[in-house]
């Protein structure tokens, strides 16, 4: 008979950039159960609506997470703009789309590196982060920040991105494409990587759907669902397909994210082409009154922003549901039955963002 033992994993662990704790119940080398406990990064920032007014909250919302910061800032602004019936100008819509895809690109490259590092492919980690720096350069030129951008405000954008800069972005992305393709191909076609990822943590389409997973985790099991297709911002005018894979294993999740890297480049190029001229913001008068929920596709999956206001300077409630939170039940399900040595890869493959989850 095999022995049962419990191995604590985290909160401080070499493969984890962020703290999460798992109690892994093992039978020999096989995980029979994984019990997550979270709360190491909980700050309680939703309660800051009581001390920061609805304009300032846009900057607090960005700091929900430093990786998906752009999306959080935009999601919050979008919800408040809907409450206040503000129609933002078309140019701002397009610029927001471009920056959103840029942030998806840098987030995916970050994940790419961490995953490679997770199974010991350190040169690929360095390569991914080398390319990521070039993306951050563009984001910094456009917004002024590498990590926290704070370019969105209620009613549009704080500053315009000049035409020449957009043109240079196009060119630089063109130059990067070859690099990106080589890196993506290395990850997806390397036999060592393939054998490490294939068949690990398989979840069927039914399982991921009932467990409520989101984003590439969901699409890796063959479900075609992408909130970008809801048609917010300029996504309606852009031609792109939802990337899916039917295997439902770690390789499939990796495949979906890696292909989304190349897709994002394409979306940015299309958006730059179509960006109209004009203003980037509209004046905002009065205070919001009402409630709204925005759904957007973050790099890690669908995120929801609920805002309730009562006509005062301070909001009544802000609530965020983030993709990693939705992915945790499916993650623990995929851990069950896997080998102990595969745990870091399984966790990294969903691109966990604990700061988002706990806020």
């Amino acid at each position: 008979m095999s022995n049962r033992s419990v191995v604590p994993f985290g909160p401080q662990h070499p493969v984890l950039p962020e703290p999460i704790h798992l109690d892994l119940v093992l039978e020999d080398e096989v995980v029979v159960d994984a019990i997550p406990s979270i709360g190491f990064v909980h700050r309680g920032l939703e309660k800051l609506v009581e001390v920061k007014d609805f304009n300032e909250m846009a900057y607090v919302a960005e700091r929900i997470c430093g990786i998906c910061s752009y999306g959080h800032g935009f999601g919050y602004c979008d919800a408040v703009e809907h409450i206040m019936n503000i129609e933002i100008p078309p140019r701002a819509q397009y610029l927001r789309t471009i920056l959103f895809e840029m942030s998806r690109l840098h987030s995916h490259m970050l994940w790419f590196g961490l995953l490679a590092d997770g199974f010991g492919f350190e040169s690929l980690f360095m390569d991914a982060w080398r390319i990521r720096e070039k993306l951050l350069d563009m984001l910094e030129e456009a917004t002024g920040g590498r990590v926290i951008f704070s370019i969105n405000k209620i009613g549009g954008m704080r500053r315009d991105i000049p035409k020449e800069m957009l043109k240079s972005f196009r060119q630089r992305l063109e130059d990067l494409t070859e690099d990106l393709k080589v890196t993506v191909r290395t990850l997806l076609e390397d036999p060592a990587v393939k054998s490490r990822l294939s068949g690990v943590g398989v979840l069927t389409a039914d399982e991921v759907e009932t467990l409520g997973a989101a984003g590439p985790f969901l699409r890796g099991s063959g479900i075609r669902r992408d909130s970008r297709k809801l048609g917010y911002l300029a996504y309606d005018d852009i031609d792109f397909d939802i990337i899916t894979h039917n295997d439902g294993d770690t390789y499939a999740r990796t495949y979906v994210r890696a292909m989304e890297i190349l897709q994002s480049v394409d979306i940015i190029k299309q958006a730059i082409e179509k960006t109209p001229a004009g203003e980037v913001d509209v004046p905002v008068k009065g205070f919001p009154n009402g409630e709204y929920m925005t759904r957007i596709e973050q790099p890690r999956g669908e995120a929801c922003y609920y805002v309730k206001a009562n006509g005062k300077k301070f909001l009544e409630r802000m609530r965020v549901r983030t993709p990693t939170f939705a992915n945790i039940p499916a993650l623990t399900a995929s851990l069950r039955g896997s080998e102990l040595a595969d745990i870091p890869i399984l966790i990294l493959a969903i691109d966990p963002c604990i700061s988002c989850t706990e806020r």
């Binding site: 909160p11 401080q12 662990h13 070499p14 493969v15 950039p17 962020e18 703290p19 709360g39 190491f40 990064v41 909980h42 700050r43 309680g44 920032l45 309660k47 800051l48 001390v51 900057y59 607090v60 700091r63 929900i64 997470c65 430093g66 990786i67 910061s69 970050l110 590196g113 980690f125 360095m126 982060w129 080398r130 990521r132 720096e133 920040g145 590498r146 990590v147 926290i148 963002c353 604990i354 700061s355």
Partner: protein
């Protein structure tokens, strides 16, 4: 500047938003490349000389921070990276935030910024190195005193015998 040793870093996210953490990682990658000085981001507190800590520390992270700090061998230096680690930053008013790493463990170098830039972080680590040297020298002279003391006590005992 001459490095007296290649220090190893330990990084811990104590309730930060992730922004500073990815910048700590970015400092080790090709653009900034602190690894060329032999500075390695280790995952083991027992191998680390410098603790780079981000975030304002919440109640649950408090004991973890203390534990990691106590597991590091002497001499050790703590670098608070980012404004949240310095004094709580934008999350200062949150009910769950202690408001800075120095509320929990002693901090030697403060590096502000939201998020902290890799250049600033490297500057902070270089400052931390000087402090590490000082601490090591202090330990050496302290150890030397102890050895002398032991010798004295030996002779004392012999004399008594």
């Amino acid at each position: 500047m001459k490095l007296s040793k290649s220090p190893w870093l330990l990084h811990y996210d104590a309730s930060s938003c992730n922004g500073c953490d990815i910048e700590v990682l970015a400092a080790t990658t090709p653009r900034f490349d602190v690894e060329r000085f032999g500075i390695i981001n280790t995952g083991n507190p027992k191998h680390a000389d410098i603790l780079v800590i981000t975030g304002g520390v919440n109640n649950q992270a408090k004991s973890v921070v203390k534990q990691i700090y106590s597991q590091m061998p002497e001499p050790k230096v703590v670098v608070a990276a980012g404004i949240c680690a310095c004094d709580g930053g934008i999350f200062k008013d949150c009910y769950n935030i202690m408001g800075g790493v120095d509320k929990v463990i002693p901090v030697d170098v403060y590096v502000p910024g939201c998020a902290v830039r890799p250049e600033a972080l490297i500057d902070g680590v270089v400052k931390a190195l000087a402090i590490l040297d000082q601490k090591r020298d202090a330990m050496k002279s302290h150890a030397a005193c102890e050895i002398n003391y032991d010798k004295n006590s030996d002779t004392k005992e012999k004399n008594q015998a």
